[in-house]
């Protein structure tokens, strides 16, 4: 009797203790709402720095629906767990972050908790943003709070139970959120450290380029080994890189700054937005990122270097170049692709020699299939590389034959498996993407107003 009473007492104590511990893990206080600060209360120099930092952080990419109002959120982000919609980070008092103090903003960046105390899903990459300094958070806050306020209520996420309960995220954070800030490496240069700070922090490169575990957290042991984003493969950008020529600091800088590089080709898919943003930030920051990433790639092995020199020799030798129309895929390549891709015109006004294309050496043909289908659209208002899409003129069999031929001719890797399925999936996602393109902003409301061209 007394023994069972002791056990019951112990059980109750444990339950209460557990509940208190769980409460401590899960519960976060609300931070008091403020009246939206007046835009003129922020130092313009701080706002400008925040603008550059926001571009490095690529904030607009997720927080803006294509063609919609900047930073108003609402973009569906597909995850293996369901669809999460990005939030409105304009200073709108009711639907944005207008009532957030700087402390609330910093807490969101550091530990993924919103002003009211709710846990944010880690699609918002606070596992990287823990590295951002207070000073940079202040600049970002100043930038965002001086944007036009947009009334845009949050869209409900589409997640299954129990993931639709935000307290679950607290458990994820216990496992995966280290909460450390960036520690400079004194053995490295100031520029290297600047690059590392940006790459590991605000630029959150690993969010796409590092593979994730079953719980959706980046695998720390496989940093930069290649990941997935939408229907694209984010290439390995470490020693596992499959780019035919090894990346140099200058190539990385050119690519990140201009959006293309003569030895590696053109940024497209989700990376196009990233390099678009990086074209507008201080050059020194982009160079620091390039310098740091070059060290992440590591020194190429002698084997890799000799492969690269073979590739370079092949490019220069026209006899090997001549397109062969000896297979269905080869015929398509010779007739539809070689005009640009073997034209000897320099990039970006022509197609890259496909021997240099990482997409054809990639683990799967997703990126190559996406590009053949939809091409590369020009960047508005700029000179930029473009490529026509072939979705309307090639059927799935023709694209599959073409991909198999390209892989065989331009890569040293074994043949791809499941090419047909990849092409079907790519066509499906291309259609979805085009159909979900909303009305673009900035255009006049109607072309029917004759006297107002």
């Amino acid at each position: 009797m007394s023994k069972s009473r002791i056990i019951a007492g112990a059980a109750i104590t444990a339950l209460i203790g557990g509940a208190i511990a769980a409460f401590a893990v899960v519960w976060r206080p609300a931070i008091e709402a403020i009246g939206p600060p007046a835009p003129q209360s922020f130092d313009p120099a701080l706002v400008k720095r925040g603008r550059d930092l926001a571009a490095i952080g690529n904030c607009s990419d997720c927080h803006t629906v294509r063609g919609g109002k900047s930073f108003a959120g609402g973009l569906p982000v597909p995850t293996p767990f369901g669809t999460i919609y990005s939030s409105n980070i304009t200073p709108d008092a009711d639907t944005g972050i207008g009532r957030w103090s700087e402390a609330a903003f910093r807490r969101a960046m550091r530990s993924g908790v919103d002003r009211a105390g709710y846990h944010l899903y880690p699609t918002f990459p606070y596992d990287h943003f823990t590295n951002v300094t207070d000073e940079d958070d202040r600049a970002l806050y100043a930038f965002l709070m001086t944007r036009p306020a947009v009334h845009a209520p949050a869209r409900a996420n589409n997640l299954a139970f129990p993931l639709n309960q935000r307290f679950v995220v607290a458990g994820w954070k216990l496992l995966f959120l280290k909460g450390e800030t960036y520690k400079p490496d004194s053995a490295q240069s100031a520029e290297w450290n600047r690059g590392a700070y940006l790459v590991e922090g605000l630029a959150h490169c690993g969010a796409c380029h590092t593979p994730r575990n079953v719980l959706g957290a980046e695998k720390a042991s496989a940093a930069f080994s290649g990941g997935d984003v939408d229907n694209w493969h984010a290439y390995a950008i470490n020693a596992k890189s499959l780019s035919p020529l090894p990346w140099t600091t200058e190539a990385l800088f050119h690519y990140l700054r201009q959006g293309w590089d003569p030895d590696h080709g053109v940024a497209r898919g989700p990376m196009a937005e990233v390099v678009g943003n990086l074209s507008s930030v201080p050059q020194s920051d982009v160079h620091a990122i390039a310098l740091y990433m070059r060290s992440v790639f590591g020194t190429p092995t002698p084997d890799r270097l000799s492969q690269a020199s073979v590739t370079q020799a092949q490019i220069k030798s026209p006899s090997v170049q001549a397109a062969q129309a000896d297979s269905p895929g080869g015929s398509i390549y010779a007739a539809a692709c070689a005009t640009c891709h073997e034209s000897d015109r320099p990039l970006p006004y022509s197609g890259i020699n496909l021997r240099l294309s990482t997409s054809l050496s990639a683990p799967d043909p997703r990126n190559a299939a996406n590009i053949i289908l939809s091409g590369i659209r020009p960047v508005a208002g700029e000179r930029s590389p473009i490529m026509p899409g072939f979705a309307n003129s090639m059927n799935d069999d023709q694209i599959s034959a073409l991909l198999n031929y390209l892989r065989g001719r331009f890569s040293n890797q074994p043949a791809w498996a499941g090419v047909e399925q990849t092409v079907r999936d790519a066509r499906k996602s291309e259609t979805v993407f085009l159909q979900t393109q909303p009305e673009r902003s900035g255009a006049p409301a109607s072309s029917m107003q004759r006297d107002k061209p």
Partner: protein, 165 residues
């Protein structure tokens, strides 16, 4: 020799399979509505419709067209009986030099077959690959809206090619 289906007729074409469709249309079949602009699929002047979809004929070799139906502007209407899209472009005086207009009409036609009531934004988005250097864009936009109305309200043109193929 290969068979090319253009505007509802089978044509025997004596050309290599890697010949761009544009060359076959202009040189072999003397269908000159589709224009040679850049030859690289970057300007849209050569746009025709293949199986209902807008295609850049300068970068589409004949070998991709086995069993497919090609429609050119000549297949939509004639001077005597213009198709709604052609009437609309004339009524809005959308052409200045006119070089891009055939391609514009073909891409707009493909859009209207898929989406009979496109918004302004949808038309802009769809026609983005087609360049016009005279700057008649606003007239082109109005013409596409007018074509949509014509197809919706007016009786279809007498040759039965009123856009729904």
């Amino acid at each position: 020799m290969m068979t090319l289906k253009v505007n509802g007729h089978d044509h025997q074409i004596d050309a290599d399979p890697d010949t761009p469709l544009l060359y076959a249309l202009r040189e072999e079949l003397k269908l000159n509505a589709a224009k040679f602009g850049c030859g690289l699929g970057q300007c849209g002047a050569c746009t025709v419709i293949v199986d209902g979809k807008a295609v850049l004929s300068c970068v589409t070799p004949l070998l991709l067209l086995d069993g497919k139906q090609v429609t050119t502007l000549e297949g939509l209407g004639t001077v005597e009986t213009p198709a709604p899209i052609q009437r609309a472009f004339m009524e809005e005086q959308a052409a200045q030099c006119g070089y891009c207009i055939a391609g514009m009409m073909m891409r707009a036609q493909a859009l209207l077959q898929r989406n009979p009531k496109p918004t302004d934004a949808q038309i802009r988005d769809e026609l983005e690959p087609n360049l016009c250097r005279c700057g008649t864009h606003m007239r082109i936009l109005r013409a596409v809206h007018r074509a949509a109305q014509l197809m919706d309200t007016a009786e279809l043109t007498t040759n039965g090619q009123g856009g729904v193929q």
